[in-house]
Homo-oligomer: 408 residues x 2
């Protein structure tokens, strides 16, 4: 099996992490910020040094191309994103991009010619931290959003995506839409606890969870905490507490794959000596099976109806519905075989988070590779991985990409 140059990959990760570095070992590289521009420039220089051509499209997506023996064949694509959360870690996204670059460099070192070209992509604004929503540019590429609606998205300062693309010099001329891709791989840190908890090095990601998001409300009546006897109260917080537990019970009922979360709640009036009159809160369910999501939703509606029978009124509204994603069976098998041949402890898994690969899978055969991260910490400067994990993931990526790039 081929192997990448682990020291060079680690060194590139460290060099890149100096751009937008923030205290605590993290980075702040908001999409199309000055720090993002510097990181893009460095990536472009490294790619050019490695003999690649670089294409930029109208969404600022960068494609670093290592030519194949048969340029007319659809290329193999790999990559992720350079941008970060405002208080982000040094591996989320950029690891997949630099591991892709390391694949190209390693192939150069070994003088390997592939049948198909290999392209490493940097998708613009994956995080959605500066411009909502997340995965904006891979979404345009995959036909989920139009270029114009993406261009019009504005940051908190009112700067549009189009303006930011112009300002950074990354408004490319190539159309931001899918071209024929033979196979696509995205390597990423898990951002969850499973691989580390089970002592596995490689996650073979065969799909992504479907998600249903809800906005909910329990309405009672605000009352003076001192003057209002308990039997005469309509305490919205009590209804909320029951529903938090109901949501958790629903998640447990559909274990182990279900996720059920109340992450946000806003209480009115939120004053120590006033009985809460209203609680508005978020609920989200995730599961790889659409049918199970429907059952979870039915259970949720029953729990709400039960609360609605008392002195409280409730409402719950589904606000998003992302169908589960199944990655391409052949790409998944290619990843599994590479991990097996390399002798890494592996497991199949479902991505709980959204990734550019989720959109990309609409227009190209796609799979993902996960490596563990320490204590499942991500979107935080404390995000960390070991050098051994980093090289293991890149080795799997190298062999999967080469395998696909040799297919004719």
């Amino acid at each position: 099996m081929r192997r990448i140059n682990a020291a060079r990959l680690w060194d590139s990760l460290n060099q890149m992490a100096t751009l937008g570095a923030i205290p605590g070992n993290g980075v702040c590289r908001l999409a199309l910020s000055e720090e993002d521009r510097q990181a893009r420039d460095l990536l472009q220089r490294w790619a050019t040094d490695a003999g690649c051509t670089v294409r930029v499209d109208e969404m600022g997506n960068m494609f670093l191309r290592r030519e194949g023996r048969q340029p007319q064949l659809a290329p193999v694509l790999t990559g992720s994103h350079v941008d970060s959360q405002p208080n982000g870690g040094r591996y989320d996204g950029i690891y997949g991009v630099l591991a892709g670059l390391e694949v190209l460099r390693s192939l150069n070192d070994a003088n390997v010619e592939t049948e198909r070209a290999i392209e490493v992509v940097n998708w613009t604004n994956e995080e959605g931290a500066r411009f909502a929503p997340a995965m904006l540019a891979s979404g345009v590429f995959s036909g989920v959003f139009t270029r114009d609606e993406a261009w019009q998205r504005e940051d908190a300062q009112g700067i549009s995506v189009e303006q930011a693309l112009r300002d950074t010099g990354y408004l490319g001329s190539h159309p931001a839409r899918a071209f024929p891709i033979h196979a696509a791989y995205e390597l990423h840190i898990e951002q969850g606890p499973i691989l580390e908890a089970e002592g596995k090095t490689i996650g073979v990601v065969r799909g992504a969870q479907g998600q249903r998001w809800y906005q909910a409300e329990v309405v009672g009546f605000s009352a003076h905490a001192g003057t209002t006897p308990l039997p005469l109260r309509r305490d919205a917080l009590l209804g909320f507490a029951s529903l938090v537990q109901a949501v958790n019970q629903i998640g447990l009922h559909f274990a182990p794959d279900a996720r059920a979360t109340v992450g946000r709640a806003d209480i009115e009036p939120n004053s120590p000596n006033v009985v809460p009159g209203c609680v508005r809160f978020s609920i989200e369910f995730r599961h790889p099976d659409e049918q199970v999501l429907a059952e979870m939703e039915a259970a949720l509606l029953r729990a709400f109806a039960e609360i609605n029978n008392g002195p409280l009124t409730t409402s719950v509204q589904r606000i998003f519905d992302y169908a589960p994603i199944e990655f391409d069976a052949h790409c998944v098998a290619t990843v599994r075989e590479a991990a097996t041949a390399l002798g890494y402890a592996q497991r199949e898994m479902i991505s709980g988070a959204g990734h550019d690969a989720c959109y990309l899978s609409r227009v190209a055969p796609t799979a993902m590779i996960f490596i563990p991260c320490v204590d499942s910490i991500s979107h935080n400067p404390a995000e960390n991985i070991s050098e051994a994990w980093a090289s293991a993931g890149a080795n799997v990526l190298l062999n999967a990409v080469v395998s696909s790039a040799m297919e004719v």
Copy 2:
């Protein structure tokens, strides 16, 4: 039995409600604001027209004195406060002041001379909405706070109480400290649902609940809602939900007098797709019996200890402890007898809210009289009472005050 002039009282209430009027029939008369100054000026004019002398002390407390036959005897005091919540109702506080004024006017009409002087007081900054804490000036009067610490309290704009007293012209020269008072009565709307629910017109208030306030925290670990399986979560919101229910159970266990409330909670990071890592929240218990409050606290600590055994850590700290207040038995009896003689449906009760009378009872024999309010709404423009309730309360006040003012 003597009776006040119901139409005049109602008319005065309506006139006063034009000062600081806000949409929805309410008032905004923050302590020592321009609106409060106008209301004070009007009160002073009405008192002067009624033949009273007006004294203002260093805290801006106003004493409208109708002289008695024996000026050397300690006066009978009644009154409440002119200030309001920012989004307040037109009866909270001001009803007790204007009913006191109506008592004086009615005695004038009937040419009644009392043995003791009667003084109607307007306590500065009862609400605590502009300057924290509430009942600031009755607190100084009763020796709970020093004048200087009260003067230094600042509003959100950094204006001190002393400055605001100067600006409004209500920085008086009389010392703000207790003088001999024979008996004191405060008439107030209930701000709770009990009288209305039971069809009673008069609440004979024999004390005020003790209060214990707590600041609590449940700490878990923030995690990605998509990538973190339920068994690996440390969801602070689940611990919080259990504790909300435990607090309510404790309140129900010590029914009917106990109040147990979680009114405020702040979740971190409060984002729909992040498992909550921390919830900070308030708890307050109220009960007329100190011993029961201690038992409620013990039950609370047990509930917290239970949660602390899992993947969550908790903390709870008592931040206030107000002892229960028992009003003067003779004053309470005087109120009861007046209500009985007038033929009003009455009940004894405990004030769930704090009032100036609670502090005043430290330095003078004190009792309170409650009338119902519609739907227990208070601190809200929709606060409402009937004209019949208003005159009933003032009639009880008149007869109780006169009864005490005839005692030599």
